[in-house]
């Protein structure tokens, strides 16, 4: 039972040599063995001591080794990131009440916990002095003992506070409450982190590009000051309710020559780490571009480029594997985006973009080249689609192609003009807004020859003049008024006078001729003539066919219209003119064709929120409201087409008899146009607010008597009120004034559809049962 007090000089080699022999012996044979081997003294004591406790020791280490996890224990990837504000591993946070809540720190009253970051807990707090809500970041209680952590926090704050940029979270104040703890007061934004948004799935491509551009702008500003974020990830991006992406948490930002995170805290969340971060090599701003590439990929596909069952496999993939191209995962991702991602995710920093500016330039290039219209053909054209997808005020902030100030101004004007034109000439089946809510007809006008054909056109002086005049016609900012439309018609006529063979001018003239206020019988016939001329001049130009298709639709000649619209789509499968075909299917009660076409629309123009909204509409028309709402939910993160999307969503809620939501949704967009008010009236009537509904009805009636407004809103509000007689009367008027909308075939109007009088409408529209 000797406890070898002092091991003393021991012949370890000898001990080792006999250990194997002696440990296998039964205890009662050991003495004999020791004698036979002449083992005595310290060595024998040692052996006996070890043998004596062999089994105890084994049990001891087995128990102790429980603190060392063995392989086979599940290691969920998510669990690795306790830093995210909503990270699952912070389960303990909910389990106890944070003692700081309710207390006051400096002049901040702490009201709740927002999340936990790499170096601190973030609270929601009220600034008592300035009476505003702030996000207050404090050192974690434990980390407060760690002066290094405090220093790091202060460096973060100084770094970020120096940055004043719309895409970077604003820092209000950096303070120390005591020697050991510090806080940062930041702007509190209403919105969601990109991480939260991504939990619902991938984003529309236009949104993905938009956010990427915004984040790149914020990073660019930081990089210009020598600050690297080093932890770009969705959890560190807040998207405010008005769609602005704010980069948060320069928690590990580093100013050159100030090394703060070498030891201990390692930057980045695994999935977003750059290879140089993984390998702990020196970092420069290009590490942020890599991480942004990961974020872009995730926004486009809903998946991370480097994903695996385990963190180790993820890291290995970052170092060594090429991700599956985003377009393979989501077919509608254009290869342009693949290329940008590939460049961002180049393993070697020197093969990436050199700076954020280069990236932004390429991103805006996508926005441009994705449009079928060549920029040189119609300067406004590229912007038109964007315009129709983006609120007017924000369009230039996010997607405007980089260009000189003068050109920008011109384009902006062009774009407003085109919007107005779009609003003005959208007469029949599809939504027309009085306020210029952009609708796809705008994109129709923007559609031009495929790029390869542009070169073929003879760019004579006359042709150039015609183009120029045509553009001016599109640019007329007064286009929304009758006089403006006349001026625009004049420009188109002048364009034709300059070069009578310039087909787009004829097509545009056709479209403007069926605009409200223009479409007296004679002009409608002229419109058809102009469209046919456009086709005759250039039968391979989609705009001519589209214009003729629209004119024929205007005249309820759907079969012929369909032929031409299909032809336009055939010529240019990417054309936004596909929208016409979709509306044709809608109004002729072909919901399945409509949905198929809408899906095709999205497939061909994945960045178009209008396309996505149309697909949602397709679901609605097929009675698939939850799918429609899911689609719109994704659209919610992009601004436009607000009224359209809101209208579809409200209809979905109405079909599901979710009146409060329906009313609330419709209210938000009711101001956008007169017809939307009719829908709001419908929702109110059904939701039990009949008086409000009647008030809307009366307003619409008064407007109609004054000769402003169309019949469609009155159809809708009367249907809502259950006054079917009136509804059918107004339906008749809407058929006459061309304000009839395809929605009439949808589930919202089931009451009307059940009425025998509805069959009359169907017959007039040429629909056979």
């Amino acid at each position: 039972m000797t406890r070898a007090g002092d091991s003393g000089p021991l012949d370890w080699r000898r001990l080792e040599a006999v250990w194997d022999a002696v440990r296998g012996l039964p205890p009662d044979e050991r003495d004999a063995f020791f004698v036979s081997q002449a083992l005595d003294g310290a060595l024998r004591d040692e052996l006996e001591s070890l043998l004596h406790r062999a089994s105890t020791a084994e049990g001891f280490f087995e128990q102790l080794s429980a603190v060392v996890p063995r392989s086979g224990e599940a290691m969920p990837d998510e669990g690795l990131d306790p830093d995210g504000p909503a990270g699952g591993s912070d389960a303990s946070a909910g389990a106890y009440t944070d003692p700081l809540i309710g207390t006051t720190l400096a002049h901040y009253e702490i009201v709740g916990r927002l999340g936990q970051g790499g170096m601190g807990i973030v609270y929601r707090a009220n600034d008592i002095r300035l009476r505003r809500t702030v996000a207050l970041k404090l050192l974690r209680p434990r980390a407060a003992d760690d002066l290094r952590a405090k220093d790091r926090l202060l460096v973060e704050a100084r770094a970020a506070a120096a940055l004043d940029h719309p895409n970077i979270c604003t820092i209000y104040e950096v303070g120390e409450t005591s020697e050991r703890s510090a806080f940062i007061a930041m702007a509190f934004y209403l919105g969601e982190t990109l991480e939260q948004i991504l939990r619902r799935g991938p984003l529309p491509l236009a949104t993905s590009l938009d956010y990427t551009t915004q984040i790149a702008r914020g990073l660019g500003a930081a990089h210009d000051r020598g600050i690297i974020h080093r932890d770009v990830k969705p959890a560190n991006v807040i998207v405010t309710s008005d769609g602005v992406a704010k980069l948060l948490d320069f928690g590990i930002a580093r100013i050159p020559d100030v090394e703060i995170s070498r030891e201990g805290v390692t930057p980045g969340t695994i999935a977003y780490m750059s290879p140089e971060q993984v390998a702990s090599r020196p970092l420069d701003q290009r590490t942020d571009l890599w991480s942004l590439g990961v974020v872009l990929y995730e926004m486009c596909t809903g998946e991370r480029p480097f994903r695996a069952d385990s963190a180790g496999a993820v890291l290995y993939a970052i170092l060594d594997q090429s991700p599956t191209p985003a377009s393979t995962i989501r077919g509608e991702v254009p290869t342009d985006i693949d290329s940008i991602i590939a460049r961002l995710l180049a393993k070697a920093p020197e093969r990436r973009y050199g700076n954020a500016e280069e990236l932004i330039s390429d991103l805006s290039g996508i926005s441009e080249t994705r449009q079928p219209a060549g920029r040189d053909t119609r300067p406004g054209a590229n912007l038109i689609t964007r315009a129709s997808e983006t609120d007017q005020d924000d369009a230039t902030a996010t997607l405007e192609p980089s260009s000189g100030p003068r050109r920008r101004r011109v384009r902006r004007a062009a774009w407003y003009g085109a919007l107005a034109l779009a609003a003005a000439i959208w007469p029949v089946v599809v939504e027309l807004t009085q306020t210029g809510e952009p609708r796809p007809v705008a994109t129709a006008l923007s559609t031009a020859v495929p790029a390869n054909r542009t070169q073929d056109s003879p760019l004579s002086a006359r042709r150039l003049a015609a183009k120029d005049l045509h553009e001016q016609g599109m640019q007329d900012v007064l286009f929304r008024t009758d006089s403006g439309r006349r001026r625009s018609s004049d420009f188109f006529r002048q364009a034709i006078a300059a070069d009578s063979t310039y087909a787009p001018a004829h097509a545009s003239l056709a479209l403007v001729r069926i605009a409200p206020g223009e479409h007296r019988r004679a002009t409608v016939e002229d419109a058809e003539q102009s469209a046919r001329t456009a086709i005759r001049l250039d039968s391979l130009h989609p705009l001519g066919h589209a214009a003729l298709g629209r004119v024929l639709m205007f005249n309820y000649r759907f079969a012929e219209a369909e032929t031409h619209l299909k032809r336009a789509v055939e010529i240019d499968p990417k054309t936004p003119l596909r929208e016409f075909l979709i509306s044709l299917y809608q109004v002729t009660d072909r919901p399945r064709d409509m949905l198929a076409e809408a899906k095709e629309f999205v497939a061909n123009d994945p960045t178009s929120s209008i396309a996505i909204a149309e697909r949602a509409n397709g679901y609605l028309m097929n009675g698939r409201c939850s799918e429609a709402l899911a689609e719109l939910d994704r659209l919610g993160h992009m601004r436009p087409p607000r009224a359209r999307a809101g209208n579809i969503a409200a209809q979905c809620h109405a079909v599901r008899k979710e009146w409060p939501q329906a009313i609330a949704t419709m209210r938000r967009v009711a101001d956008t146009n007169e017809q939307a008010r009719g829908y709001l009236g419908f929702m109110l009537a059904r939701g039990g607010e009949r008086d409000s509904a009647r008030a809307i009805r009366d307003t619409l009636l008064a407007r109609h008597q004054r000769g402003v407004g169309t019949a469609w809103g009155l159809v809708v509000v009367h249907a809502g009120l259950g006054d079917l007689d009136a509804a059918f009367r107004w339906l008749e008027s809407s058929y006459e004034d061309r304000s009839l909308r395809g929605d009439i075939m949808g589930p919202l109007f089931a009451d009307l559809q059940r009425d025998p009088r509805f069959e009359l409408l169907r017959r007039r529209l040429g629909i056979r049962k």
Partner: protein, 183 residues
């Protein structure tokens, strides 16, 4: 012991990293909020220890595994030290051996007594290393690396029988040293 197959490196990389991650994750789970290092940080601390130095040849499996196991030991010890220090700051003495044994038998979590035992183990391993580097490395692999007899043998380039023998001897030796240390 060189592996020509590039995928072998990938698998190995994954294996080692995930072991590191498991440790860190479990640590994080056992006492959430008590760490100054995040789980990710813990893992990367070890990871950088493993991969930060350019001189290392990761195709050398034995070297790789041995370094990995040692890195894991370092993480755990650093962690235990923080934990123990936090307690001692409250005026508590390190646990006695008896307390350690009781904790092992009755406390499922990573209580301070176990942290103290780990620290004592670390010190004992230093002494063991003085006698035999091979023994201490085997303990690193078996205990801290969670590697099997065969894995350890392969990693260190010795026979499984040697691993078995040395491991069976190192345990009682360390046990005794820890008991002596903690008193």
């Amino acid at each position: 012991m060189r592996q020509g197959d590039p995928n072998a490196l990938g698998r190995l990389f994954t294996l080692v990293y995930d072991k590191l991650a498991e440790i860190a994750h479990t640590e994080g789970r056992r006492h959430p909020g008590a760490e100054t290092l995040t789980t990710t940080g813990l893992v990367h601390e070890a990871f950088i220890t493993l991969f930060g130095s350019e001189s290392r040849d990761f195709n050398d499996r034995s070297h790789f595994m041995a370094v990995a196991a040692t890195a894991m030991r370092r993480i755990l010890i650093a962690n235990a030290r923080r934990r123990s220090a936090a307690k001692r700051g409250d005026g508590q003495r390190p646990a006695t051996f008896e307390e350690v044994e009781r904790a092992l038998a009755t406390e499922p979590g990573f209580v301070t007594a176990k942290a103290d035992a780990l620290l004592a183990l670390d010190r004992a391993l230093e002494r063991l290393h003085g006698h035999s580097e091979r023994h201490s490395r085997i303990v690193d692999c078996r205990f801290f690396g969670g590697m099997s007899i065969e894995e350890t043998a392969a990693a260190l380039g010795i026979s499984p029988a040697t691993v078995k023998r040395d491991w069976s001897m190192a345990q009682p030796w360390l046990h005794r040293e820890i008991q002596k240390d903690l008193g």
